[in-house]
Symmetry: C2
């Protein structure tokens, strides 16, 4: 490696998890291109909330997508203060949902838990609760019925969401998860549900990993318009990692056309934060700061210019 | 295990790959419930064509879904004689397609190879060539363009298909394969292409593994009507096996509602064979005769009563 005198050459920095030299310089704190970037906590899953907040500040990332479990670990009040003191926005709270149980008692419990999640989002100053619908109940093969229960559960959450000023973001999930995680499989299907409710109550999450393959996805993004409550980016890579839950890649390492999707999201009027949410064992095994540096580079290279 | 005196108890037989006792008796050759069952060769991937033909005859299965590679191993003429002497029908030839290359020379070669496949189907007395579209070219992120090339390639194959009396069966593939194997992701999308051509030239393959999650799939099956050229059954199981290409399960071991899908296929007017096509390392590791016995049991238990 030669020493670097030009800031555009950063041969000393390696991308995670590819191990290849960085293709662009890491944007520094204060770089205006970072203005809308958000770190979803799951991308640095080994970091505590404290570490994630500090990592965002150190990297100049002004927004964080928070998960309920690490918030619960420190307690909601402390989490609110920690994030507030750091001056970070909370781009979304992950996650509510999981309301497809066939058992009415379990469904009622899920409803109550989602109301708690709405309270948490409001306390965090976060206007979006991400809803992961949930899968088929054990031994149950009636996907249409599970989808109908998901739609009913969303409807039941509309009044408490409006009361709290928090929007419900239905996250359509890649069909790889239709059985065990998310029965809403397309953006079109999520919008069919969302459009039954006021736009300030129910929207959709556009996650590139989940929707990139959907026939007509650009038209569906246009249809979504101001119902897009969150734009999440991560990559579809092949061969698919062995654990399908951890099969997401770093933007630029796979097959997704981030240009077309990002331009469509921008054209639909979305002006919110862009969350990087990557579930991947190799990413999780790397030092958090290296992960954040890579995603910031890839974001300014691939995503931000299209916004 | 107790000895069995009632034919409905077959505790000595174990299902593949679960290892659990068989739930129903194995149907014997001549059982009318086997009339439309077909063994797709890939389900017993370690068997040669000779072994697969003999395995079908021994189990009383009158139809076989043939792959080009094992046919090429013995030579087309010998394969035709082998299958004809055994009195088997060929329910489909797998597979043509793979025509999404960006390079025109590669696309032209794919077209020629598909014409050869049509010739092989005709020689085998098989009226259906299954088309697996192919994935994105290396480094290419333009899924819409790849889909358009697939549609063009189908159109170019219509005249040679009509000449040979072989129908092209577009196989929509689960979005898990959209990047690397099949860019046509839904039955709706396959029908949009097929409907541009005569029904005796272009149809669709309904494979439960690929389409079970599709929103509105029952309506799409009804829409397909006489364009259904092949009905293939296998299961979506969780957790998904590590190799996504080998992630298919034995009917009854997973999440698919075979009742609803099979009734819809029957109501659409499909009267052809029902192929069992399972790509799964555990199934492949088992003795072929045990695999065939299990699939025959599951077929008469779960699928055939719905036809």
């Amino acid at each position: 490696m030669t020493s670097t005198h030009t800031p555009s050459t950063r041969a000393e920095e390696l991308d995670v998890p590819s191990g290849l030299p960085a293709r662009v310089a890491t944007p520094r704190p204060g770089d205006p291109r970072l203005a809308r970037l958000s770190l979803n906590q799951r991308t640095t899953a080994r970091w505590s909330l404290r570490e994630a907040v500090d990592g965002c500040v150190a990297a100049g990332i002004g927004s964080i997508g928070v998960w309920r479990e690490p918030v619960a670990e420190v307690g909601l009040d402390i989490a609110v203060r920690m994030i507030g003191d750091a001056g970070l926005r909370v781009s979304s709270l992950c996650r509510g949902g999981f309301f497809t149980a066939a058992d009415p008692v379990a469904r009622a419990a899920a409803h109550e838990d989602n109301i708690t999640a709405l309270d948490e989002a409001a306390a965090l100053g976060c206007d979006t609760l991400v809803l992961v619908p949930g899968g088929l109940p054990e031994g149950d093969r009636d996907l249409a019925a599970a989808r109908a229960r998901a739609a009913e559960a969303v409807a039941a959450l509309v009044p408490p969401a409006l009361e709290r000023g928090v929007r419900l973001g239905i996250e359509p999930m890649h069909p790889i998860f239709a059985a065990d995680r998310g029965v809403i499989s397309t953006l079109a299907q999520a919008l069919d549900i969302a459009e039954q409710h006021p736009a300030d109550a129910v929207g959709v999450v556009v996650d590139t990993f989940h929707v990139w393959w959907e026939p007509g996805v650009l038209a569906q993004i246009a249809r979504a318009g101001d119902r897009i409550v969150s734009y999440q980016v991560c990559e579809w890579i092949t061969p698919l990692p062995a654990d399908s839950l951890l099969s997401r890649g770093m933007m630029g390492d796979g097959h997704i056309d981030f240009g077309a999707l990002t331009r469509a999201v921008a054209a639909a009027g979305y002006t919110g934060d862009v969350e990087v949410e990557i579930f991947n064992a190799d990413v999780w095994a790397a030092p958090g700061a290296d992960v954040v540096a890579t995603l910031a580079r890839r974001y300014v290279e691939i995503v931000e210019p299209q916004l």
